[in-house]
Amino acid sequence: MEYVLMKGNEALAEAAIRAGCRFYSGYPITPQTEILEYLSWRMDEVGGEFVQTESELGGINMMLGASAAGARVIGSSSGPGFSLFQEGISYLVAADLPAVLVDVMRYGNGLGDIGQSQGDYWQLTRGGGHGDYRTIVLAPNSVQENVDLTHLAFDLAEKYRHPVIIGSDAAIGQMMEKVALPEMEEHDIDKFHWSMKGCKKGEEQKKITNLLYYMDNYDEFLANKYKEMEDNEQRWESMEVEDAEVVLVSYGISSRVCKEAVKVARSQGIKLGLIRPISLWPYPIKAFEELSDSCKALMTVEMNILGQMVDDVILATGNKYPVYKYTTVKDVPETEVIIEKANKILSGGEV
């Protein structure tokens, strides 16, 4: 395997190109700007289209047009800009259009701060915009996964005709690591029966709009689509869960520290395990079926104030276990603190 050393954001952008994506429209915002900068020259090189738009609103609505025309499209932003994407995400869902959208998470409400964080979990996993929908959300924890999950995101977006979100963060986006890049793949804009091409005489006109207007069983259709995603698209990685007494639940950059904590704890005789959701939605409920009777508690490790993923762990385990949280807001969690908290849980102390 040939490795290159690449920044997470740039590797993600290159992965989009290699997945056949030929349209990007976006706006500068730290810490995702490298995606915009990289694609500004790379799209040109491969004959694709890059537009620096007036805002993320302009960007997402332009992507919607390119998607309707049959292209593989990607957009990226962070916190404040990702909020502006929400209008278009809701419209993409309504019109059954594929798109890949990246939130390189930064910290905080409002303007917040440019440092890494996992504060957009609720926005990403609950829909985010107005209406009645979810999106598949993939959470990479390495530069390599930025590449692998980007490719997967395009395939899933197409399979379900639905936006797919990559919930990355500033640390994964800004860091460099070794990465193996996939081969270049071509995408044929004429391969979909539903995309805009021009209406020939005698053909049925393409109407790219809210399915609600033309589909008698829209409620059933949409419910089934999400059921299918929940059945087929749960993704996770488990580590030493079988006999674990405390199971950590963590994704993205935090999960790397949790992995280390499991190894260190085990070497000290502490039975720690880890469930790392790779799909934040659909939440990997199946992963929790592997918990054994030895499990005494779960603890989410996440970078926000309120402990956002705790909700989903409680839902996934049906109140069978106590669920604790270790929240670090802007800083990456510490191995020692994870082990200390696990010890407190096991000895019945305050966490």
Partner: protein, 245 residues
């Protein structure tokens, strides 16, 4: 007498109000496409408001874009379907109020799309609220005592705002009388010719009656355009040059 209209725009009942100008513009687009041999190629993007009703009354592949964003969405379509003519069709509320950033920046980038903006002086779909184009003193449901320009500012005039931009075509037509309808068709055709020549952003604003929301009879509503509206919003071609593309 034989009635004749392009097949692309006459296959279904429209749901526009009696006396509305949208239907006339639809026909003009259909005729221009037929004359240019582009009927089977045109891709359109319409706004969610009254413009959206076209999706069921013309037979072109159509996206209904979010309110105010049709031009951005049309740019996205055109970037991928480079051989097809692409039309953004929206009202004055969409283009000059909520979507002013998208309108302005598509023009600044000289995006290669044809944009038709229907100026009827009100927000039509939501029931006749004040629009950026409502005239001074015009009574609407949100300016019941008449538009007070000391608070709302002056009516938006696209020619003043965009007339100095480096775009190939900017014209204002009207569908309030036969002569203007004929001239407006020429404007639309010229816009599409320049578009197919990849010259860039071509904008045609069209003054159009909205009898329902102005509480007027159709003929009176058209006469108002010819009498009052055109005093402020003159019709004609304002930019007509080879673009930068």
């Amino acid at each position: 007498m034989e009635l004749r209209a392009p097949e692309s725009i006459s296959f279904a009942q429209t749901s526009f109000c009696p006396g509305c100008g949208h239907g006339i513009v639809s026909r003009l687009i259909g005729e221009v496409m037929e004359e240019m041999g582009l009927t089977e190629k045109l891709l359109t993007v319409v706004d969610v408001a009254c413009s959206s009703l076209h999706i069921d009354t013309w037979k072109f592949d159509t996206v209904i874009a979010a309110h105010g964003r049709p031009i951005a969405t049309a740019t996205g379509v055109k970037k991928i379907r480079r051989e097809n003519p692409v039309l953004a069709y929206l009202g004055d509320g969409a283009a000059y109020s909520i979507g002013i950033a998208e309108t302005m920046h598509a023009a600044l980038r000289n995006d290669n799309v044809v944009t038709i903006i229907i100026n009827n002086g009100v927000f039509g779909m939501t029931g006749g609220q004040m629009a950026p184009t409502s005239l001074a003193g015009q009574k609407t449901t949100t300016s019941p005592k008449g538009r007070d320009v000391s608070k709302t500012g002056q009516p938006f005039d696209v020619v003043k705002v965009m007339g100095s931009l480096d775009i190939p075509y900017l014209a204002r037509g009207s569908v309030s009388n036969l002569g203007d309808i004929r001239r407006t068709k020429k404007y639309i055709k010229k816009a599409f010719e320049k578009h197919m020549n990849n010259e860039g952003f071509c904008l045609v604003e069209i003054l159009s009656p909205c009898p329902t929301n102005l509480g007027m009879a159709p003929v009176a509503c058209s006469e108002r355009i010819d009498g009052v509206v055109k005093e402020l919003f003159n019709t004609g071609e304002y930019i007509d040059k080879e673009g930068t593309k």
